[in-house]
Symmetry: C2
Subunit: 259 residues, 2 copies
């Protein structure tokens, strides 16, 4: 039974369920395995296979899955795409070309944002992927609420099946607010403006001591130099390190001179 | 020579150049080929290889590239990462884990937006990818302006090399305003409100003729029915088709009755 379509009407209160990936008559074991790996990378777990060519399991899928074997083990088999989407509330069909169907066409980013909103409202969504060579048949596309296609170079538009799954999984993780595994490396707190300006004064005094700046050009050159250092977004530690480096060179020169 | 760093200072007026992809000691021919295919999908063309294991060209890369052989043919070989980035103005290093380096850490989307902005200002950017098993060495990461990492499921964080290249290429194409290859399929113009309301009146009259609505529930049921049809976002053609379908059923019934 189809949902009424609004995202405001949760059919049940299940926990957030990542979208189901449905591969229709996939041909190559490597693609199924790589698709499973891509799913695992981005927190998807439910894989459905519609009549895989040459049966299932397929030799080679597990090694391509590179550790995501549990997704392959729990993959469900169906004989038609219609059966594979029967229990879903929202279905997207991926296609590389226009099908002349009266459906919305979405790129992966807005598509997965919509799936996320529906999922958060308790719906279960799925994405249909077609055969490697020929894609989905028109009757299979017709099962979907909307079409998803990829923004690609028109001169080279054929995306590998597992890579298409990867883009969907990646946009899911982004839509679900998945963060980066680690953040930037400012260990020392950012320098205060006073530390930075005091370093500039010290540095310019050392440069003046060796007549680095031609007198008439000094104002502009010194400002440009300050801008270079400001672009470093220095931490307190950076300022101490730089000051130490300048002092070491200056004093080394003075020591050498007195030798 | 390094650029001063600002995106407002174009070093030359070259045409927009997509970022260079640099694979450091890639091990598997399939990954190099699949990376080339992913590049071609999203309009990247310049591939650099630093000391590929077992030499170059590699057997198997071309078939994995699936038509993107020209990218492999024009790939440039380097012996160190430092040489491979020498002519670039902005360099990102991809890593899956913290390296303790004082660099900004960016996800692919903001990273490629920044690359796009710099590219539009005439800079040439590149992205470094490490070895399949061990990634980039710390000295190689140190060559970069910033680190890129992928938002991934921490429990399954290992992304395939070619799939990492794909995500970068995909975000480049998105940042460069690459559109979808086709748009939605409304061939007939959207229906005017008058056509829709007139269809509702007709439909409800037919339903009244067969006493479909219990009198006390009619207002709510009819409004819900109208909402269902409004969610269809009907075109003029849709309205005509629906009206014809309702009429056919209604008249078929009347015809049968008079038999």
């Amino acid at each position: 039974m189809r949902q009424k379509g609004g995202v405001t009407e949760p059919p049940h209160a299940a926990p957030l369920q990542a979208p189901v990936i449905i591969l229709v008559e996939p041909q190559l074991a490597e693609n199924i395995g790589m698709a499973a790996r891509a799913m695992a990378n981005f927190g998807l777990s439910e894989l459905r296979l519609v009549a895989p060519r040459d049966g299932w399991p397929k030799r080679g899928a597990r090694s391509a899955a590179s550790g995501a074997g549990t997704i392959l083990d729990s993959a469900k088999l169906y004989s038609t795409a219609r059966e594979a989407v029967a229990d879903l509330h929202f279905v997207l069909a991926t296609t590389a070309r226009e099908r002349g169907q009266m459906k919305r066409v979405l790129g992966p980013e807005p598509a997965l944002r919509e799936i996320y909103a529906r999922t958060a409202a308790g719906q279960v969504a799925g994405v249909l992927f077609g055969r490697e060579r020929t894609g989905l048949e028109n009757d299979e596309v017709a099962l979907a609420d909307a079409v998803m296609t990829f923004p690609v170079n028109p001169a080279f538009a054929s995306i590998n099946l597992a890579q298409a799954v990867l883009l969907v999984a990646y946009e899911w993780f982004k839509a679900a607010d998945g963060g980066l595994p680690f953040a930037g490396g400012m260990r020392s707190p950012p320098a205060t403006r006073d530390s930075i300006l005091s370093f500039f004064d010290y540095f310019e005094a050392e440069l003046d001591a060796v007549n680095f700046y031609p007198l008439d050009k000094k104002p502009v050159m010194a400002r440009n130099m300050r801008d270079m250092f400001l672009r470093m977004a220095m931490s307190e530690q950076d300022v101490r390190t730089l000051r130490g480096a300048v002092r070491a060179i200056a004093e080394g020169r003075r020591l050498r001179r007195t030798d």
